[in-house]
Symmetry: C2
Subunit: 314 residues, 2 copies
């Protein structure tokens, strides 16, 4: 892929950040735009928390906690311990002291009237990240988990507090009717030479992005190729609840099943060599190693995808 090419990536979570790191290793930051899931965002202790955006930006800035894949490295939690020890509150959502700097700044800037897109750009730029980091939209559009036994749960309640153990019946995008495509997201799609859907959880991380009014439609009509990377490897998810959710939604746990879920949006699919070979209903497909255990795996996957798509033009 030419260095001047513009690549727009839809992503969320730790799997998304890994592919982002691989792309950033082989392409200049100005080539890359990340459209990030904000369905997980919430206000907590009066602070706006954007877990997927922070995971991505901390990863690209080289300050992420490598062990857990999110949060800042060398983190302490004195503020939370004080909340428990002095005020008898035991928040179930972990916030590190260094991490608090991000939430304090973001919350203050949002309250000052900046759009989330502007706030994200400023935070990323101060952290030295030169890729464009775009929230999927400026408005709140919280993902609600519809569960079998506990009714509707806010995303963080479902995912963090209950550790994604409740049986999922589906998800709902609250306030969707008020969300709009930001000018920055529209431009990132219009100018893209390639759109990638990262190996993030299709239901929890990608579905919210596709649910932003107008976004799925724009992707479907896009001239540039739209290619997804499988989040399923050898019949399982690398991390997190993708496979569990597919079973709960009565879907076959397979890459083909994910490709079908994305449907008409896709032009191509990157499958893992460990998965059973399949046809992907007329999509162009690449079989390669998609398991990203270290830096070199991440860069190799990014390179393999870019070279493969470069070949489409020939």
């Amino acid at each position: 892929m030419a260095l001047a090419a513009k690549i727009t990536v839809l992503l969320g979570g730790v799997g998304g950040a890994k592919l982002a790191e691989g792309l950033a290793a082989v392409l200049p930051g100005r080539s890359l735009t990340f459209i990030v899931n904000t369905g997980d965002d919430f206000w907590h202790l009066g602070l706006k928390i954007c877990p997927d955006m922070d995971t991505l930006v901390y990863t690209l800035a080289g300050i992420v906690d490598r062990g857990q894949g999110w949060g800042m490295r060398d983190e302490t939690t004195y503020a939370l311990e004080s909340l428990a020890r002095h005020y008898g509150l035991e928040p179930w959502f972990r916030l590190g002291d260094s991490d608090l700097a991000t939430h304090l700044l973001r919350s203050q800037w949002l309250r000052n009237g900046m759009r989330l897109t502007e706030v994200a750009a400023e935070l990323a730029s101060r952290l030295g990240v030169d890729a464009a980091i775009l929230p999927m939209c400026d408005e709140d559009m919280p993902t609600i988990a519809r569960t079998a036994d506990q009714g509707e749960l806010g995303f963080q309640e479902y995912f963090v507090k209950h550790r994604w153990q409740p049986v999922l019946r589906g998800i709902r995008h609250a306030k969707r009717e008020r969300a709009t495509l930001s000018p920055e997201v529209e431009r990132a799609l219009a100018e893209a030479d390639l759109v990638l859907i990262a190996p993030s959880n299709p239901w929890l991380s990608i579905a919210p992005i596709l649910a932003v009014p107008g976004l799925r439609d724009k992707l479907t009509r896009l001239n540039a190729p739209v290619v997804a990377v499988t989040p399923i490897i050898a019949g399982a998810a690398v991390k997190g609840p993708t496979a569990k959710i597919m079973r709960e939604l009565k879907l076959e746990v397979s890459a083909a099943s994910v490709a079908r879920y994305y449907g008409a949006v896709l032009d191509g699919f990157v499958d893992d060599i460990r998965n059973q070979a399949c046809a992907f209903d007329g999509l162009r497909a690449l079989r390669t190693n998609t398991l990203m255990r270290d830096e070199s795996d991440k860069a190799a996957l990014a390179r393999a995808i870019l070279e493969w798509i470069e070949g489409w033009r020939a």
Copy 2:
């Protein structure tokens, strides 16, 4: 003074917290109500900071940093260091990580619509403080310093950023016209058997309280005695800019000068044995050791004041 007596104390700053500690050592918490200066309060990084209230409550809860007289003991500053290291911001106002718990809770509760009086009561109660802690009013009434060379400065800018070095010409209570006596402050004055004005800075800590519309008038007409403790010892302030400010305002640096400043509000004055004896224009006066170097000094001063006033009835 009988244990059933109700004592209301006007105070701010570290000097005020010391006398509060002495009173709390010799009287049950239910006897004590503190009306605290909130002219120093400000919003910082999206957090509501109430320096005088926190100094008092941390002191009474036994978690204050004894060395500096304010902030929590064993404090860390990882959040602030992260702001500097990651985001290039060097806030001039120090906020500790454990201390952040207080500001986060307070800000959240205020945004949820609680009055500052309710928030202060809840925070103090969770910290195990049984004395009543009342902000001077629920509304914002920020103290503005009028300086000779830099015009008007917000209080924290004057006091912390510029370390009270600018020459003071006077102070102004912004938004004073919107401040009102809270029902809790009215009750604390109406029910008091004694009102004490702590040895806090008269201009920076006490003047804002007296400026709450109606408060000075209520104090002046009060049946219960109103007694101030000198913040000037041997012609100087124990800590902070009281003497410097008096010189800048062209006032004699003396206890008598402070008593004159409080004027008709006072019935009595507690002077320090190190000061030159003076008549205090018809006020009842006590000469005693007012320098509070340790716990026993604090309790001794509280006891001396209470016994002296008990004698007024005889």
